[in-house]
């Protein structure tokens, strides 16, 4: 499950900025529920891959293995993605970063 950060999170000495993504994998299901209930994160309503610019061909290949939206892609097992796309893990990692960047909300300008 992928979550969009809505308030600055503090995990040890690391701060996670609003607009970015996290899986909150270090928390229990109850912990994730609490984070949603206090408005710190929200579940990602991810766009279909077919509407992401430049992803039409990839979306068709990925649909065959049941991966249809951006959150599913980001969360999917790398081996599954490599096989579906016929690409190396490094390339799949680049695709993943590209999608995360595309979905991340920029920090608002000051003022």
């Amino acid at each position: 499950m992928l979550f969009r950060v809505r308030k600055t999170l503090e995990k040890g000495k690391k701060k996670i900025a609003p607009g970015s993504f996290t899986r909150l994998e270090w928390l229990t299901a109850r912990g994730r529920e609490i984070m949603i209930s206090v408005g710190a994160v929200s579940e990602v309503g991810a766009p279909p891959l077919a509407v992401v610019p430049g992803w039409k061909a990839r979306s068709e290949k990925l649909a065959r293995v049941g991966i249809e939206d951006a959150a599913q892609f980001i969360d999917a097992d790398t081996d599954v993605l490599c096989e579906a796309l016929g690409r190396q893990p490094r390339t799949v990692g680049k695709y993943r970063n590209e999608l995360m960047e595309w979905m991340t909300v920029d920090k608002p300008a000051a003022g």
């Binding site: 308030k7 600055t8 999170l9 503090e10 995990k11 270090w26 912990g31 984070m35 206090v38 710190a40």
Partner: protein, 150 residues
């Protein structure tokens, strides 16, 4: 609109303050009040022919007041604050963190580097309760507001 069901009191709040070695000390159990006051510097102006007042904003500040109890154990609020207050003329800024409403996942964390502005200890013969200690802290930099994710 429905009445809220999420109001919380401060009974489980947590306060951590660095000691002289820079190690966070949990002073929750020897303090019982923390006031967080955020201030914003506003400058106002009016113009000829106008009846309204306008304001510009530039800069912010804060004051945190902690009420502690006079206790005798080491590494509690009294000792931590007293040692800070009597450290000499070049006191370091120290990290203060206040967790609301408690120190759990999803709680608010107000934190920053603070300098001690004043410390007062009220010894009153007529008061049977523990002697109150009041510390006023001012930030050295920005106060951060985050959500505890661990």
């Amino acid at each position: 609109m429905a009445d809220t069901s999420t109001a919380r009191n401060a009974c489980d709040a947590a306060i951590w303050l660095d000691n002289a070695a820079g190690t966070p000390v949990d002073i929750t159990g020897s303090s019982n009040k923390a006031d967080i006051a955020l201030d914003y510097k506003l400058g106002e102006y009016t113009v000829f022919g106008g009846c309204c007042t306008y304001r510009l904003e530039c800069g912010q500040d804060a004051t945190i007041t902690i009420n502690a109890l006079y206790t005798t154990a080491a590494s509690e609020a009294r000792e931590t604050l007293n040692l800070w207050a009597t450290q000499g003329c070049d006191k370091n800024a120290r990290t203060l963190s206040i967790y609301l409403p408690d120190k759990n996942v999803g709680s608010e964390k107000w934190s920053g580097e603070f300098r001690l502005e004043s410390l007062s200890i009220a010894a009153d013969h007529d008061d049977a309760g523990p002697m109150p200690i009041t510390a006023v802290l001012k930030p050295h930099g920005c106060v951060s507001y985050t959500i505890a994710a661990t």
